[in-house]
């Protein structure tokens, strides 16, 4: 079942080029397709949610969009240009928070942010000012010189958020950004995303937290087995599936199994 994109259909013909376009992209690993003929668009000021069960191809899609992986087939365009034609120029305007908090664990938060900012060519004084401000706002200034190996998952995630935003990117790609964050930081992150969208940034938000997606995103794309099975606005998706929440809509569209029965069976495994 493909719930066709009512919100995108109009834009496709509008001649809008100031957007991210994923056009019929495939990605295969050793002959196995992780992403199949995926098409999506994201425009400035909009937050697009990327949903799907484990192994549905969300992270592969995200990694192709930030230029970490090359599509096997199809094309990813930014403002009408294939990103791989000018990858370095494209990566300068992308901010990325990866699913796993991968960092050089022997660096401190300041050293890591200096490395990222330096590689992005931010002038030293500006970088120092931004790093100080991010660490202060995230409550990390007392741990600024501690190695990242000593940081909790939430603290590392905050460093990654700072690293993704430090160069004021135009396109922000978030892969499970709230993983490990406490309630206050999660709420602050949602507010941050909404503010950035208001300021005209293009945002792609991949998450399992459907409540967060429902609050933050206007449009969603639901992936299953590497294909988009729904690509529309959150409101329209709820209407089409005749459900009250995004969680119910997602369950209707993307979850085949009887999750309640599965839960009961799991509980029985060790008691028998």
């Amino acid at each position: 079942m493909l719930l066709a994109a009512s919100s995108y259909d109009g834009r496709r013909d509008s001649g809008l080029t100031d957007m991210l376009t994923v056009d019929g992209v495939w990605k295969t690993f050793r002959g196995v397709a992780a992403v199949r003929a995926l098409t999506l668009q994201a425009e400035p000021g909009n937050v697009v949610g990327l949903l799907g069960p484990n192994g549905s191809g969300k992270s592969t899609t995200v990694r192709m969009i930030v230029g970490l992986l090359r599509p096997t087939r199809g094309c990813i365009r930014w403002r009408g240009t294939d990103i791989h034609q000018q990858l370095l120029a494209y990566q300068k305007i992308v901010g990325y928070i990866p699913e796993e908090p991968r960092l050089y664990a022997y660096l401190s938060a300041v050293e890591y942010l200096e490395l990222v900012g330096g590689l992005r060519g931010i002038p030293r004084e500006t970088l120092a000012r931004r790093i100080d401000r991010y660490l202060e706002l995230f409550g990390l200034d007392t741990d600024r010189h501690a190695p990242l190996s000593a940081f909790s998952k939430g603290m590392r995630q905050k460093v990654l958020v700072a690293a993704a935003l430090i160069h004021d990117p135009e396109l922000i790609v978030l892969d499970e950004p709230d993983s490990g964050l406490d309630v206050a930081a999660t709420l602050a992150l949602r507010s941050l995303i909404a503010t950035l969208a208001e300021r005209g940034r293009t945002i792609l938000y991949s998450s399992h937290v459907l409540d967060a997606v429902e609050r933050v995103c206007r449009d969603v794309i639901i992936l299953r087995h590497g294909s988009a099975i729904a690509s529309t606005s959150v409101t329209r998706l709820r209407e089409l599936t005749e459900t009250a929440t995004l969680e119910e809509a997602f369950t209707t569209v993307a979850v085949d199994e009887d999750v309640a029965a599965l839960g009961r069976e799991l509980a029985d495994v060790s008691s028998r």
Partner: protein
């Protein structure tokens, strides 16, 4: 300075290169660290002191020796000094190889690097160039640490005899020749790393690190015990102008050293010219090998699924563990231990260091037998029988040391919650030693002596001997073991490495060399063989019973007490 003269795009890339170089040095040091939470700078400093000390001490010793050479003939002095110079060259080359083995996984940007840097606007070639330069810089620092003190001592000794050379020339010649030889070796290994990664993929290339580690440790030990006997032969060949000998990696640098100091051997000029050319050629090949396929390496490292190292070996080991008669807890801990060791490069590094030492000492005993004329391959001789015992001894100690280094302290909650008994963890550690060391070495012994066409009876008896001895040794090294392997956090206390090693020399002599002589005697009759086995089994059983008895009231340790802490190098006599 360079930055100011570059056009804008290149200038930006230079800035990135500069930043990445600094990061790469720390990445390389981090790869060489055995424990994750240790201070890289501190460990690097101590490691430099450790490798610089033997060369400096040797040079200082020569300073005293040379002062007594005043009335010797120039030709005799020249030959003697050539031998010493060759030692410094070989030492520098082996240390460079050791550095390459220790930092092997980080010599090329890998998946972890690409995950972090891949989404940033940085060219893969910039990352690769930074890693190459950082690697060479580290090698140069290590080489300088070895060469500078020795160069100063040898230069100070120069006025003792005209044949020793002129003071400043000796200083410069020593630095250029030894550092050139070290950098040449290191560059050759960088080249090998890149070629292997290009031809066989990153995983195959990374696996070579273990073999390289064993070889370099063995070579380092041999350098002190065995090579001093070989070096004079090499010097004779150099003096005779043997051009074929110049193909050996150290020889052109020895020729360069001699040529700079002013020794008048024939065809020295040819050898001296080869030295810088060899280094230049190695660099000329290595640089494009790093830079040209950098983009390909970057894509490939991200496209490849994370690889399970040693999957086949670990499955075989797991099957062996399942077959052992033990409780489920013992089997579970044994499987965890074996799998962790096979998958953890840091722990393998420790074990291979001990294995390399064992190989060197074992080879030495065989060669010593050969020199004494007691070595024979067609019948059991003490020098040959000692070889597997030496390897079992070092490997068992290496594994015991590796067990005490935690793999991931934060993950040990699984064991904390299940609270295995101390006796069970000791049994599991003992079984792991059997599976990882005693049984494979015994198997190798059986295979080797079968190849030597020994009588089947002798082969079987020898296998039983080595198994029984290995089991007894296993219990001896684990007599105070109270932890699940790889889960106990070190206390942070330090103790002298010297004291432990002195305490192990006597057990080594007893277990390997005296024991080999006893084995030789026991192999002469069935009755003696049976008595030997019974005695070994009694020792084993007694040690096992003592361990289990001592552990009955204790609980499993997850944080080491100061006396049980991991050995760290502490050369200070002040405490």
């Amino acid at each position: 300075m360079i930055r100011r003269h570059l056009p804008a795009p290149l200038g930006d890339e230079f800035d990135q290169f500069h930043l990445l170089c600094r990061g790469s040095v720390r990445r390389l040091l981090s790869a060489a660290l055995l424990a994750r939470d240790t201070d890289a700078a501190l460990v690097a400093t101590w490691a430099l002191v450790l490798v610089a000390t033997p060369a400096a001490m040797y040079a200082f010793h020569q300073l005293i020796d040379y002062s007594a050479l005043g009335f010797q003939k120039a030709s005799i002095v020249e030959h003697a000094i050539q031998v010493d110079r060759m030692f410094f060259l070989l030492y520098g080359m082996v240390v460079a190889a050791l550095l390459a083995a220790a930092t092997w996984e980080a010599l090329l940007p890998d998946r972890a690097d690409q995950e972090i840097v891949g989404s940033l606007p940085v060219r893969p070639r910039t990352v690769a160039a930074a890693r190459l330069v950082a690697s060479l810089w580290l090698a140069a620092i290590a080489s300088a640490a070895i060469s500078v003190p020795a160069a100063v001592f040898l230069a100070v000794a120069a006025p003792s005899h005209p044949a020793l050379g002129y003071f400043p020339v000796v200083l410069v010649a020593h630095l250029i020749a030894t550092m050139g030889a070290s950098l040449f070796t290191f560059t050759l290994l960088l080249m090998a790393r890149a070629v292997l990664a290009l031809c066989f993929g990153a995983h195959a290339s990374e696996r070579l690190a273990t073999a390289l580690q064993v070889l370099t440790i063995a070579a380092l030990a041999e350098l002190f015990f065995f090579i001093p006997g070989v070096i004079p032969v090499l010097v004779d060949r150099l003096a005779a102008g043997d051009r074929f000998a110049l193909l050996m990696p150290s020889m052109p640098y020895a020729a360069l050293y001699s040529w700079m100091v002013g020794v008048s051997y024939p065809s020295l000029g040819f050898g001296a010219a080869m030295a810088p050319l060899a280094l230049l050629l190695a660099l000329t090949i290595t640089i494009p090998l790093y830079l040209c396929p950098a983009r390909r390496f970057a894509w490939r490292s991200l496209e490849m699924q994370p690889h399970q190292h040693a999957a086949v070996v670990s499955n075989v080991a797991r099957l062996a563990v399942v077959a052992l008669p033990a409780s489920s807890a013992v089997r579970a801990v044994t499987t965890f231990t074996v799998t962790t060791l096979l998958r953890s490069r840091r722990h393998r590094l420790v074990v291979t260091a001990y294995f390399g030492l064992g190989l060197a000492v074992g080879t030495l005993s065989v060669l010593a037998g050969g020199m004494r004329g007691t070595l024979a391959f067609d019948r059991p001789e003490t020098s040959l029988l000692a070889l597997p015992l030496v390897i079992i001894f070092f490997l068992t100690l290496g594994l015991r040391t590796a067990f005490a280094i935690p793999s991931d302290v934060e993950a040990n909650w699984v064991f904390r919650l299940s609270q295995p008994l101390v006796g069970s963890t000791g049994d599991a550690a003992a079984m792991s030693l059997l599976v990882l060391c005693v049984v494979p070495v015994t198997g190798l012994v059986v295979g080797s002596v079968l190849l030597l066409q020994w009588p089947t009876h002798d082969v079987l008896v020898l296998a039983v001997f080595d198994l029984a001895c290995g089991c007894a040794l296993t219990e001896w090294v684990l007599r105070d073991w109270r932890a699940v392997p790889f889960t106990c956090a070190p206390s942070g206390d330090v103790e002298s490495l010297k004291s432990r090693w002195l305490g192990r020399i006597v057990p080594l002599l007893l277990f390997a060399f005296v024991n080999a002589a006893v084995q030789k005697a026991a192999l002469r009759s069935d009755r003696a063989a049976a008595a030997y086995v019974v005695l070994a089994v009694i020792v084993w059983s007694a040690a096992r019973a003592q361990r289990r008895w001592a552990s009955r009231t204790l609980s499993v340790q997850f944080e080491a007490s100061p006396s049980d802490s991991l050995s760290t190098l502490d050369l200070s006599e002040a405490r």
